[in-house]
Structure formats: C-alpha cells, structure tokens
Amino acid sequence: MQILNFTITENTQLTRDIWRVRLHNPQAERPKTGQFVNLQIDGHYLRRPISICDWEDGTYTLIYRVVGQGTTALAQLQPGQVINMLTGLGNGFTIMPAQRPLLIGGGVGVPPLYYLAKELVKAGQRPTMLLGFAREEDVLFQDEKEWDVKVVIGGYVTDGLPAHYDAIYACGPEPMLRGIDRTAKALAPGHMQLSFEARMACGFGACMACTCRTQQGYKRICKDGPILTREEIQWT
C-alpha cells in the first residue's frame, strides 16, 4: 500500500457516463491485477474506491462511471491537477494456470479485466473476454488484438458462455456474478475468481464497513477481497 499524490495527465469522457482518468507519480508501485485505489476528491470526506484498468511506469488508468457527486467532481478535474490516492488495496486476482481463461465483465466491472488480460498474455495465456453492456454506446474494449472479445448487449452475459474454458475471472454487479456461479461448469479449485463491490469507507480493513459472510468466515471486501473464489462465496 502507498499513499501518494498523483498528477492527472488525462481525464476523458468515453461514453455518456463513463470516463477515463490517467494519473502519474513516478514513485507509484506496480499494483496486482484486481486491486483497487481509494482516491480523495476535494470537498468529499470519504475516499472513492475505483478499480485499476491499467498501470504502466507509474501511470494509473482508471475507468469510472459518473454516478454521484463525488464522481461528478472527479470528472471535472483537469490535467495537471493533483489528487491523493491510497493504492495497492485488496487481494487482487491470482493468476491460475489455464489453457482457456475466460474473463467476464459487466458495466464498470469490465475495466479491471483489461489489466488482467494484459498480465495473462504476459504469462503466455490467451484469454477470451466476454463483456456485457446495457447499450451499444456503452461498449468498451471491443477492438483488442491480443485476446478474443465477445460482447453481449443487454440481456444476460452468461448467455454468451463459450463451450470451452478452464478458468473464469469475473467482475460486475452481484446478480451477474451470481448468474456466472450458477451457470458455469465445474472448475478446478481457485479457478473461478469473482470480484465483489461494496460501499466502503477506509479501503484498508480498519472500519469493518464492507464485511461479508463467506464459507471461511467473515471477510472484508476491501482487504480480504475484493476477489473471492467460488469455494469461498456464500450467497445470501
């Protein structure tokens, strides 16, 4: 974990309500895929947790949806402005040995899968991305070269499950994750990793605001998660 000030190098609107911000600090350490940052926005007391879409040489790429006052303020920030981020939060994905890893994302659950796919490619794997978006104009990451992308507009992303896969990594709304767990075939232990969301305060495990029940006791989404394996999950 690090607490650092980052300089915004870019803050661009991608779709109707989705934005991409790039932030740089030369001292920023490389995060694990699936980790998140908690960023401080002037005038807002609590930090805002956002997943990591990419990292390169001290520059973070975050893709966020403008949903409330905090993210509205974030979208107004200009290149050159400085914001404070708590980084390296959460357990992150564990890369599993697999021939056909399947990455399933929905909405703003899609961006962290981009960073994961890049790491899988580096590890010599060929991932497939199955992405669900509400509308045609929401689509992100359709034209990737190093992996296969299949997009589902509206409906259930699980309708697009391919025949062959031996690992699943997924991030998106809870009903989608639940659907994946219900629909996907049996996989080796640890080969289904789902990334959960929760309203949180600290982001580093101190306040117990985001605790959930699991098969292995209570876990904090921010610290012991946000990634839980299929074997750990206890649906409520």
Binding site: Q40, Y45, L46, A198, R199, C207, M208, A209, K223
Partner: protein, 303 residues
C-alpha cells in the same frame, strides 16, 4: 518538550490514541507506520458473543464526516483476550484500551471479568454509547441511573482502570458523567457518535441497511469539544476527548477544553497516516503556542 500524559497512573508517551472501531485490532495501521509511536490503542468494541454486525451498506457520507452502522462486528471477548491482544502485545508496547460493549448488565460484567484477566490490557473502556445495536449499547448511556448501575457492577469485577465511553445523544451529558464517577469510573471517554440518517434520492430509501447510524468526523468536533468542556467542569476523573479530531491543533484544543488524552477516529479511515502526522506535528504546534509540557494545558481554557 514533554508530550507525555497520564491516565490513572498509566503513562502515555503522547496523548494520541486511535479510537475504537477505526483501527481494528491495530494490525491495519502497521503497513503505514510503526504503531509503537502511538500514545495507546483503543481496540474494536467487543461483546461476550461473536457478532457479524449489521447488514450492508454500513456507511454513508456526510458533509465533513460520515455515518456508520457497523454494529459491533467482533470475534467475541474471549478471542480478544486469549488470542488477539496477546498477539498484538508481542510487539506493541504502548497502553492498550480494550473496548467492551454488551446487551445486558450481566453481559457487560461477564465480558469485564474475562478482559480484566488479560495482562496486556491497560484500560478497560466500557462502551455504553453504541448507537448501532438494538436493545443495548447506547440505551445504558442515555440514563444516568442505568449507566451508574453498569459501571458499579463492572467496577466490582475489574482490576484495571475502568473508563466509560459516553454518548452525546443525551440532554445533559454532565449528569451521566457525574453518575459514572460516583459509581466508581476511573475516567471517561467522550464522545461516541451522534445518531444520524441519510436517504438516497434515487431509491428514496435510507442509504444504510440499518437506516440510522453514528455520525463522526470533523463535523462533530465542536460538539465533542463542548461535551468535554461541560464534563470537565462536572467531574474530577480524567477525560479522553474524541470526536472529529483530525490535527495536532484539534488535540491541543481538546486538551484546553479538559481532555487528558485524545482519541482519533474517522480521520484514520480517510488518512491512515493521520495519527503519525499528528504526533509529528505536535512539537512544532507546541513551540508555536509556547507550550513546554502538554499536561500544563489540560483544562486551560476554563481559567
């Protein structure tokens, strides 16, 4: 320059203590700094039985603060006394304040009996002010007589200083404080959170699953300061001041109002470095304000 303070004969190297519920059981702050620089550590509130706490969402943002309705999630007082505190004390050598809550007088007493046997605990902080649990917590702290009964019963079974954490959600906090002192309390921690609510405009429903929750953060600092001020005039026992403290200047202001030591709560959640920064900043603030010994200023604003 002397930053040390004393609580019931226990010396703290400085008055800065992360508040209960804002630092877990201490480990969460370790990645950020050496926790042995702290004046002490107040552990997550614990009950006789393990608790999951309230359903999610448990937090909501407010202007200059936050609401929480965590609801005393804890592994149970036995686990705290047997495993968690001994593990923490292996390499944490500052006073540990064990925070105890409950749902009945009997439960408070049983928990006190267990935690008082834990060698590494320096002070027992009785939480009769949690706004987030039904049929317990705050109910004991809103009535002077009920508070006194709990304090007297717990005092009879503990061998360590007993501090009582009070709620500001009362008409007259000094009256409750006096009742606790008369019942044998060795000190007071004030204040716990103020009961609040947020409603989501889109869903038209309360943001938190438990609906109401406790307000903390800078928004409540003046309220906390006022409570410390009033209680300082009403009792002789030491006061730990808390509620919105976020800077070295807040610490000094709290001590001028009458606090002997200070706890830092919500500020840790937005800046995990805050306690270290406050401790680092204190000498310069003291020099600027012409303070040689911190203990010299306790209650200084009442003169």
């Amino acid at each position: 320059m002397d930053l040390s303070v004393k609580l019931s004969g226990i010396t703290l190297q400085n008055p800065v203590i992360p508040a209960s519920g804002c630092c877990g059981f201490g480990h969460e702050l370790r990645p950020f700094y050496d926790i042995n620089i702290l004046g002490g550590l107040a552990l997550k509130g614990s009950t006789l039985e393990p608790r999951f706490g309230n359903e999610l969402p448990r937090v909501a943002e407010t202007s200059a603060g936050m609401l929480n309705s965590v609801g005393l999630q804890n592994p149970g007082i036995e686990a705290v006394a047997q495993a968690i505190v001994p593990a923490l004390a292996k390499d944490f050598h500052q006073p540990i304040l064990a925070n105890v809550s409950g749902f009945s007088l009997e439960e408070f007493v049983k928990s006190c009996e267990i935690i008082t046997q834990c060698d590494a605990v320096s002070i027992i902080e009785l939480n009769i002010s949690c706004p987030n649990v039904r049929g317990g917590g705050m109910i004991f702290g809103t009535c002077a007589q009920a508070a006194a009964e709990i304090v007297a019963a717990c005092k009879a079974v503990v061998t360590k200083p007993l501090y009582v954490k009070l709620t500001p959600n009362v008409t007259n906090i000094a009256e409750v404080a006096k009742a606790c002192e008369a019942a044998g309390a060795d000190g007071l921690s004030l204040i716990n959170t103020l009961l609040g609510l947020r409603i989501d405009l889109k869903s038209r429903k309360p943001v938190m699953a438990n609906k109401m929750g406790g307000l903390s953060g800078p928004a409540i600092f003046p309220v906390a300061l006022r409570c410390v001020w009033q209680v300082y005039q009403a009792v002789q026992i030491p006061i730990i001041g808390l509620g919105g403290v976020s800077s070295a200047r807040d610490v000094i202001e709290m001590m001028l109002a009458g606090a002997t030591a200070v706890q830092v709560g919500a500020a840790n959640l937005v800046n995990p470095m805050v306690c270290k920064e406050i401790i680092d900043d204190l000498p310069a603030e003291m020099e600027w304000l012409g303070i040689e010994k911190l203990t010299d200023i306790i209650g200084g604003a009442h003169a």
